[in-house]
Symmetry: D2
Subunit: 287 residues, 4 copies
């Protein structure tokens, strides 16, 4: 009767909150993660008939995260995601592909022993995709908010009938960086790589004299590829967080880029992906 | 020196807040929208060199939304998105593809004239993608939160070493529906279609005796395809909003599914796409 | 050495999520609550020395909510809050005053049996304060968003050197109502009262030709007092959700209040409290 | 006909977003604030009749913030709030009392010149209340999230019939500090004081071996009063952000406080106010 086809599907547990404490005598190490899991495979029957024979419950997926944290520890999120992603495919005959995403909250020490303060906003992230043939590791960061109070212009653009924006040779440029990058390998020095890439993004933003946020995006991505040979592809999503100079002329005051309104709505959004020449695309990595 | 390639890119304005009032004598009609615009095309030079010659500013994109609202009115979001999406490609030689997404806030009348109350949560949505060759209209809704207090079981699943979830023959099933569907055509009776599809989703959820949320997802999608011939593909994303029966045995009380804790973290997430047989895929529609 | 005094203190559990299902054969009744508890009393020693002898754990407070839901059911939030507030003072010698706040999520039926849809945004609320001498019941609602698309002006205000706002004889007025009202009694027909008060607020907003949101606030509060004799005091907090007409003159278009930008930041905020003449104040009710 | 009395009222602008850039040659200084204003006084007539003769528009209040930022600069939020609060009372005959609240976003330098990174989460705050007779300055901070991974126990509490929490001699203690403190004076070295008080809060949390979060709250408050003579009163609000050890015994694993679930709902909330002996209360400061 129906001619419906189940074209694609996946399922899993999201927002698994894991805090792990490792001890070296009096000195503790704190790791604080949000873990997301998605699985797919030979699971049509649960969609079509409710037959759950091949279904690993999302509750068991969650339990696996906690048990693995105890058994293997949680040092680097890239390794922990790899461990989990491989486990689900290896242990479940019905699961052909897994994706494990992790977002790490940062805590800094306030004593050498066991006291910490959380740094909100920026997160280190990873998404590992794994199937029988291939494994992809996509590192990342989100919530890194950067601002240049000068060194940015915006001129020479199209003037159609709806264009009223004045050209400017000096403006604030601000954005909250979301960056994801695909590693060439599935093992390596992820801590150093992440630190190097973060530095490349920050200096790429700060050191580029910008004629558009598009240009800054490309400069940041290029700097990542030039800095870290382990990266073969980088994707950036940069909201343009507009800062509008306030017109103070009604009050007899000029405003040479001193007083701004910061606005959220609307905002620009610039997105771009850069790859090394000759590297094959890897769509499943971004699944 | 660099071997970086700009693989893909797009840019535009997001979160454009538009409220439109139409008047029929004393009787007013209110439309309240969030509009997102993304454009791509022959724009590499702004990324590579900051040459903005071909760049339509995101500010002008925003202005176009407001000017078109005045010139053409805003009756159905599908038509308004089509109008905007076509305009950007048609009017800008550098723009080869546009995407216009709209999310509509619902307001109900409290008087026959000009007083309204907002209904939060559920939104009607649309995403139109347009290029020289083709136009795709993806209708949708989000934030529709449904609950069955019985009529749901979960049994017969895999028991691996990390499975502790007890089987159950009676549980609460709750989800917040995000649904997107691709229309066959770019013109038609979008209001009736949306109402029919919404009803199909709600009754598909309410009337399915559920052995898993996966099964419910498929039943809802199938009902959409069976109900509305104008739809060729539907994609659903259903969080499993767990309601956990409280163990009251410590207090000498049984709890035959009367008292629950509603939890947000973690939650399941079930995703699936259904297509009519023989319909070709349309990746750009989901860009 | 220290001359610090503990001037005031309270403690308790917040954000207790309770979903209760009552059954009348096939027909189910769903209640969905967030419960907050705060207790104070003869508890200085836990603050000063960490002596917990008199401390009822916040975990036990949470358990009490679930156990009482099973034992007594949850029909009206005012009664359930009274039950809990009295219990903590009565059962704990160290607790001299309790406050129980409840915020109710609204679910509407989609079938006569056991399927429901959530209505987000507006909540029914209550806050009961109880001590040995007195009990106060403060009913309320929050998140009721109302808009008049005309029938509002704003003129005749102060023009100081920083005033640039033009006077207007026609504008949109929109607000998200937070209202709290103190009942004269601790028992009565809370369902009818709540419905009557809500209607008074809505019609007070819709039917007042408004010269300022302040005037509308007073009209709404007065209507509550005139409509519901059970109320002795009402407090309103009304954000002015500005809708700014877009200047379309650059595009050769006029804009006679048809096209608006809805803004969040900044917003006005108007607050006011109305009491019946001769009624004594009751500060602890608002603790 | 009506016996309604307007018992109290206030109005103003909220969420005024101000970003200020000061320049010392190539070196820029960035200040990023949210400003809230509330005014009260002889303004009943606008509530009762819509007569706006004495109303300073909230739009003018906003303009004043931007104009003052240009005229006087924005160095310390305490001084800027004082300037604004005094202005409204001084310049408007109908305004008898003003309150100006400011919450400061923190930006750190990434270059010596004009590039910055935002530190989210923690904010420095101030609330100044001013009338003809008196001025109160309440400094503060919010969003300072602290965690001790040991050094916290919870024992010896009441065991009523709803108590199931096991006693523990070792647990994680975590909280997000909201602290407000009243200064003795309206002028002084606010930067140093804020730094000293913040350090007192952090070390008070980290160095207290805690038998309850109540005890930790008092220790933090006492340390503030002992550290900073300029403070006469401090109020703390500390959510208890529960970290629950995961039961791994099903998987043959013990869990000696290594693996935790971090939870948001429900949470404890501990609130307390400490004053120096002999200092008179100052209710309007907390208006």
């Amino acid at each position: 009767m129906s001619d419906s086809l189940l074209q694609s599907h996946r399922y899993g547990k999201r927002a698994i909150r894991l805090v792990h404490v490792a001890r070296d005598g009096e000195r503790h190490f704190l790791t604080d993660l949000d873990v997301d899991i998605a699985l797919t495979g030979d699971l049509e029957s649960t969609y079509l008939t409710g037959d759950n024979t091949g279904v690993l419950t999302t509750d068991a997926q969650k339990n696996t995260v906690y048990a693995f944290a105890k058994q293997y520890g949680v040092e680097r999120i890239e390794d922990f995601a790899l461990l989990l992603a491989r486990h689900f495919v290896r242990s479940q005959p019905t699961v052909s592909r897994s994706r494990v995403g992790i977002s790490q909250h940062r805590w800094d020490r306030i004593t050498p022993q066991h006291s910490f303060v959380r740094q909100d906003g920026e997160r280190r992230t990873v998404a590992v995709t794994h199937d029988a043939d291939e494994t992809w590791v996509v590192g990342g960061l989100s919530g890194l908010t950067l601002l240049n109070s000068t060194g940015s212009e915006f001129r020479g653009f199209v003037k159609d009938e709806y264009t009223t924006l004045p050209e400017t040779t000096d403006r604030i440029m601000a954005t909250s960086v979301s960056a994801n990058w695909r590693y060439r390998e599935t093992a390596g020095d992820f801590d150093t790589w992440h630190a190097d890439i973060r530095r490349a993004l920050v200096t790429g933003f700060a050191e580029t004299y910008s004629r558009s946020l598009q240009q800054t995006l490309y400069a940041m991505g290029e700097k990542v590829l030039n800095t870290c040979p382990a990266v073969v592809e980088v994707r950036l999503s940069l909201p343009n967080q507009h800062h509008i100079p306030v017109d103070l002329s009604h009050f007899g005051l000029d405003n040479p880029n001193e007083v701004f309104v910061a606005t959220d709505q609307p905002h620009g959004l610039i997105e771009g992906a850069l790859m090394r020449e000759g590297v094959p695309a890897a769509d499943p990595a971004w699944w």
